[in-house]
Amino acid sequence: MTNDKIAVNNLFFTYPDGTEALSNVSLNIAANQIFVLFGPARSGKTTLLRLLNRLSDLLEGARHQGDILFNGESVFRRNANVIELRRKISMVFAIPTPLPGSIRQNLTYGLRMAGIKDKVLHEARVETSLQQAGLWDEVKDRLDTSAFALSGGQKQRLCIARSLALEPEVLVLDNPTSGLDPLSTAVVEESLYDLKEQYTIVMVPHSVQQGARVADVAAFMLGGELVEVCTADKMFMNPQDQRTEDYITGRFG
């Protein structure tokens, strides 16, 4: 239990319009593994991801109950530093979102905003994070060109690199390969294996198959409830719950 990076305890979440998006979700995420959250649309996956680093705060009037512990401390505690939290639990979205500016600027945004001005450190982080995201070879000669000129797959890897440049503890990926071709997808998945040496990865996969390819531990969500959570082998070979099996085998819906 002490090994848990993140612990979600009896979490409920209600949107401002009264929709209940999460209902009594509890799960533990151990360090240095790939934790995959999968399930049909509107099952609460993204909501849970956005709660981890309190991006959910942006929704005025939403309510939550229960708790999320990060390194044993509640992310909702009164004196929690939300900005610091988001640097440690960094999120990448389904739609790649380069920020206006060059590739280099995109990568150093987070550092500059954290008040780190050391140029040598910037350079080092730019290179390391791009290599970790598998993008270095493609962009090393044009770091100062606009990030908007990259292809979809490159943009997404840029966003992953941008999060990595902050050296977070947890990398949260919300369907990071949506809209990517199979080759780019393979590159991203490949880099995930290497990244878990250093980071804890929480990810919503693009498909059940992708989940099965990358997961160490998997959780199946349905209608805001956690149906089942277990090791990936067990989940995708021999699920305990009938609903999980139906979904995985495609008999669902």
């Binding site: 680093n53 979205f93 739609i95 979102t97 920020l99 500016g101 987070g110 941008r162």
Partner: protein, 310 residues
């Protein structure tokens, strides 16, 4: 095999003409063309009436200090100075205020405040300039005079009222520009640990740059072109204000006010008459220059990106 068969079986007549579409296309073309035509006609008319100004009066005299039309002295320097002072004053007041208000409305204000403020700002835009001029005359001018100025009708009085007039334009266009910044940018910035202020300053504002520049441009255009307020509250004194700390607190006269005040009393076809049109040409050129400058500042690339979505 089947492909060639398909090709040969294609009928050799063109598809039926869609008349409805043709007509709509034509109307849109005509509407677009008429704008260009009208602008061209206005410029030709201005040139025709105003050209003698630049041909008959030596340039040295034209840009001289003395504006005494009755004695045949048409020095525009004082009018240019008046317009410059009033406009610059208005812009310095209104641009920061307008952009900050737009940021507050778009990024910080809770929904209920936005619902009250936005319609109010639009009402502000609808107040006729004569009403604001009146307000400046009876309310603002005495305050400025009591504060120590020789008269209450000064460049500053005009600048303040004009700033107030340009404010709604700048606020609502800037706010639209901020609103158009995709939500993903904000999420992306917040997700890598930006504070709300850093997100606005480093991501949202740069992304909304082109819209904000357009807002400022339209605001300046409004301030330069406004006549009624300038006529009523700037003091109508065609002289170059003495340079000093109180430069804004002296009466001036703007180019627009000069045209409005004197057009009624000149003989048509006289030199004075054509000089008034000449002032119009100058105003036209100034606005054109500001537009071009703004376009340059925004940069053609980002405008195109905004329009095509790339």
């Amino acid at each position: 095999m089947s492909a060639t068969k398909l090709e040969t079986s294609t009928p050799d007549v063109s598809p039926p003409v869609r008349w409805g579409e043709k007509i709509i296309e034509g109307l849109i073309w005509a509407a677009g063309l008429s704008t260009i035509l009208i602008v061209a006609l206005i410029f030709i008319f201005l040139l025709k009436e105003g050209l003698p100004t630049f041909l008959d009066i030596p340039l040295r005299q034209l840009f001289g200090k003395r504006w005494y039309p009755i004695e045949g002295m048409f020095g525009l320097a004082s009018l240019l100075a008046g317009t410059l002072l009033v406009t610059a004053g208005a812009v310095i007041i209104t641009v920061p205020l307008g952009i900050v208000t737009a940021i507050y409305l778009g990024e910080f204000a809770p929904p209920w405040q936005r619902e009250i403020l936005k319609p109010l700002i639009e009402v502000l835009a609808g107040i006729p300039s004569i009403v604001l001029g009146f307000l400046g005359w009876v309310a603002l001018a005495p305050i400025i005079q009591n504060a120590g100025a020789p008269t209450g009708l000064t460049a500053f009085t005009g600048a303040l009222i004009l700033a107030y007039m340009a404010l709604p334009t700048i606020i609502s266009i800037s706010e639209d520009a901020l609103y158009a910044v995709p939500k993903e940018y904000r999420d992306g910035a917040l997700a890598i640990g930006a504070t709300q202020w850093q997100t606005i300053w480093r991501v949202v504002l740069p992304a909304a740059k082109s819209g904000i520049v357009i807002a400022v441009m339209l605001g300046i255009g409004r301030a330069i072109g406004e006549t009624m307020v300038a006529l009523m509250v700037t003091g109508n004194a065609a002289n170059i204000p003495a340079f000093g700390a109180d430069i804004m607190f002296q009466p001036v006269r703007t180019m627009t006010a000069t045209i409005a005040a004197e057009m009624g009393e000149v003989a048509q076809g006289s030199l004075h008459y054509s000089v008034l049109f000449g002032i119009g040409i100058l105003l036209f050129l100034i606005t054109f220059a500001i537009n071009s400058l703004a376009r340059k500042l925004v940069g053609g690339e980002s405008v195109r990106r905004k329009r095509t979505g790339f």
